[in-house]
């Protein structure tokens, strides 16, 4: 499911245009990117948290040529599902969700 499809389903519920809803979705996820870029964490109760994980540099190999290359250290965005989300994906009897 894409952002547009998500916006379509939500827009009818909040009585906003599809375009506005899509923009709100963009603002939310853009704000997460901004926060993590600043080095902050983002916590959304019931959903999960986003934070940065550091990967140290390592020796890698170019799979094509077999040559050794140094892979530099980098930061990667990391998501950890919250308790409620974890439970939700595991408690599906039929396809009806309790909450």
């Amino acid at each position: 499911m894409t952002k547009a499809e998500l916006a379509e389903e939500i827009s009818v519920k909040i009585n906003l245009s599809k375009k506005d809803t899509e923009q709100i979705i963009s603002i939310i996820f853009e704000s997460i990117i901004n926060a993590l870029s600043k080095g902050d964490k983002v916590e959304l109760r019931g959903f999960g948290s986003f934070r940065i994980r550091h990967r140290s540099s390592r020796d890698g190999r170019n799979p094509k040529t077999g040559l050794k290359v140094k892979v530099p250290s980098k930061k990667v965005p990391f998501f950890r599902a919250g308790k409620e989300l974890k439970e939700n994906v595991n408690n599906i009897s039929g396809n009806q969700l309790i909450k």
Partner: protein
């Protein structure tokens, strides 16, 4: 208005990070919405994504990344404290794969 912004920034710095409230404020400001409406929108979006994941669907958000559900088989694990072997039952887990734009943004 300026005073309000300063206040928000101040409280934001003092906390561990960003929360739903910060998002609601951002939506309110940028979309020119009343607070209850902005709150409702943020809640609904999160709730919807949760529902979709619970149904096993994948959510793809351009630039940001994708959320999907993966099936994990039963495996043996160890309690790190006691060293006892325990069986970890089969389960479903949420996986997030960040998009290129997101990855690049945090490395800038």
């Amino acid at each position: 208005m300026i005073k309000m912004d300063n206040l928000l920034n101040f409280t934001y710095e003092r906390r561990f990070g960003m929360t739903k409230l910060d998002m609601v404020n951002k939506v309110m400001e940028e979309m020119n919405l009343q607070k209850p409406k902005a709150e409702e929108a943020v809640e609904l979006i999160i709730k919807k994504i949760k529902e979709k994941l619970a149904n096993g669907e994948t959510i793809i958000l351009r630039r940001f990344g994708s959320f999907s559900v993966r099936n994990k088989r039963t495996r043996m694990g160890r309690n790190p404290k006691t060293g006892k072997e325990v069986e970890i039952t089969a389960r479903r887990v949420v996986r997030f794969k960040s998009g290129k734009y997101f990855k690049d943004a945090v490395n800038k």
